[in-house]
C-alpha cells in the first residue's frame, strides 16, 4: 500500500509578495472585490497576499487563475527565484519542517533548490542553458547536488533522458536546436535529476501545439505515478488541471479565493470567480 503521510511535505502560511514600497491602503484597496492588485494610492503591486496551503506526499496541487493573478509569483517565491515579502514556508525534508525557509541564508536556499526541489518553467530559456548540451544541462544540476563522478553523471543523464522519452542522440545536442516540446522534456529531465521530493511546474504546456502538449502532460502524469513526487502545477488551462491534479487553488488578483478537491472545483465551484472560470471552459 502506498503510504500517504498525514504530515505535509510543504506548508505555506500567510505568503505575500509586494512589488513596490507598499502603504496601508494596499491590502484594503486591492483584491478580487476591486478586480485589481495595483494599489490606487501608492501604485505598488500586491502580487500575492496572505496565501496559505499544505501539500502532502504524492499529491498534485493545481494553481489556476487568470494572467496576473499571482500563480507564477507563488511558485517563483517557493523556488526562491523571487523573495517573498512576508510569510512562512516549511519543507518537511529540511530540518524536519522546523525552519521557515524564507528566512534561511542564501547558501541554504541554494541547497534546497539543488537537493529538494525541481522547477520547470514555461519558457525553457529560464530553466535551461540553451547553448550547452542536454546532457550538460542535466550534469549541471547533478553537480550542484554534489554528484562529481563523470561516469555516474553520464549514466544518470542517460536514464533521465530515457525516462523523459528523449532519443539518446539528443544527449550531446544543444537545446537551442530542439523543438519546444523536446526542450520541455529536457527541462523536466533536468528538474528530476536530483530526485526532488517537490516538483514545481509553471505553465509547462502553454505555447506548445496540442499534440506536443498532450505528450508532455502524459509524461508528467506517468512520472508522477511512478515516482510519487509531490507537485505543484500552475496553469490557466483547466483541462490541464483536471487531468493532472488532486486539489486546486484558485487565485484572483493575488488572493486565494477558493481551495478544494479538483472535481469539486470543476463541478461545484463556490466562489463567483471560480464559477466564471469553470463556465468559461470550452
Amino acid at each position: 500500500m502506498i503510504a500517504h503521510k498525514r504530515e505535509p511535505v510543504l506548508s505555506v502560511r500567510g505568503l505575500s509578495k509586494m512589488y513596490g514600497k507598499g502603504c496601508p491602503s494596499c491590502q484594503t484597496l486591492t483584491g478580487p472585490e476591486f478586480n485589481n492588485n495595483v494599489c490606487p494610492v501608492c501604485s505598488s503591486i500586491l502580487a500575492l497576499h496572505d496565501i496559505s496551503f499544505d501539500l502532502y506526499e504524492g499529491e498534485i496541487l493545481g494553481i489556476v487563475g487568470e494572467s496576473g493573478s499571482g500563480k507564477s509569483s507563488l511558485v517563483q517565491c517557493l523556488y526562491f527565484d523571487q523573495d517573498a515579502t512576508s510569510g512562512e514556508v516549511y519543507l518537511a525534508h529540511y530540518n524536519e519542517g522546523k525552519d521557515n525557509v524564507l528566512n534561511i541564508p542564501a547558501s541554504k536556499k541554494r541547497y534546497l533548490r539543488n537537493h529538494l526541489m525541481g522547477m520547470v518553467y514555461q519558457n525553457p530559456v529560464l530553466g535551461l542553458k540553451l547553448n550547452i548540451s542536454s546532457g550538460g544541462n542535466i550534469a549541471e544540476k547533478l553537480l550542484a547536488a554534489d554528484l562529481y563522478i563523470y561516469e555516474e553523471i553520464r549514466e544518470r543523464g542517460k536514464k533521465l533522458l530515457e525516462k523523459t522519452e528523449i532519443p539518446m542522440y539528443y544527449m550531446d545536442e544543444i537545446p537551442k536546436k530542439l523543438s519546444g516540446g523536446m526542450q520541455q522534456r529536457v527541462q523536466i529531465a533536468k528538474a528530476l535529476a536530483n530526485n526532488p521530493p517537490l516538483l514545481l511546474l509553471d505553465e509547462v504546456t502553454t505555447g506548445l501545439d496540442v499534440s506536443v502538449q498532450a505528450r508532455v502532460l502524459d509524461l508528467i502524469k506517468a512520472l508522477q505515478q511512478e515516482l510519487q513526487i509531490s507537485m505543484i502545477v500552475v496553469s490557466h488551462d483547466l483541462g490541464v488541471i483536471r487531468l493532472l491534479t488532486n486539489r486546486t487553488l484558485v487565485l484572483k488578483n493575488g488572493r486565494l479565493v477558493e481551495v478544494g478537491l479538483t472535481d469539486q472545483i470543476m463541478e461545484d465551484p463556490q466562489h463567483a470567480y471560480s464559477q466564471l472560470l469553470v463556465h468559461s471552459m470550452l
Binding site: Q225, L243, N246, E267, D268, A272, Q275, L276
Partner: protein, 233 residues
Amino acid sequence: MLKVENLSKEFTMHIRGGKKIVTLSDISFQVRKGEFLGITGPSGIGKSSLLKCIYRTYLPSGGNIWYLSGEGEMVNLATVDDHKILELRRSEIGYVAQFLHVIPRVSALEVVSSALITQGVEPKAREERAKELFRRLGIPASLWEMYPSSFSGGEKQRLNIIRGLISKPRLLLLDEPTASLDPVSKREVISLIQELKKEGTTMIGVFHDYETLMKLADTQLDINLKKCKEVCV
C-alpha cells in the same frame, strides 16, 4: 457505517445574479455495514446530487454525513478536510459515475488496472484482474489496448463499472450503473455487484429500474418531493 443527518444542498449561481437552486433538503438516513441501499425517485429530484455529496464532489450546504472508516474513525464527510477525503477515496470509498469520464490517451486496460495502484497490487496481478473482469462483462480482447474514447456507450459503461468494482472498496456509490446496458451485460453486472456485496462491501445505488433495485437493494430510500422515507423492499 454511514449516517446522513439533515443533509441539504443548495447551489448559488453567482454568475446568474446569485440565483439559488435547492437540490436536497433535510435528507436523513443510515446504512449498515454490508447493506445495499437503493435510492429511487423521479429525474431531477437530487439522487445523483446525494451521491456526489457523499463522495464530496459537491460540498453539502448543511447537515452531516457520518462515516465509520475501516480504521474505526468516525469522519464527517460533509466537513472533513480535503486530504482526508482523498485518503478515503484512495483506500475505501469508490464511485461509479453515470458516465465514464474518458481519460485521454490511456488504454482501457490501464484505465481499469490503475485503480489498483494505490492498493499496492503488482502490475501483472493488476492486469490479470482487469482482464478477468473484461471477459466477464464481454469486453473483447481487441479493445483492451484501445482508448475508451472510441468505445460505444455500452462498452464505456461496462468499463466504468469494472473500474469502480475492481478495487473492492469498503463503500461503493453507484449512479445508475445498469442504465444503457444490454440484458446480458446487465445480468452480469448485477451478479458482480451481488458478489461484492457478499464480500462485505456496503453500497448505495441510484436506480430508475425497479426490477434491478429489487434484485440488489436491502432497503430503499425514496426521495420524492424533497421528502424521504425508508421502506423495506
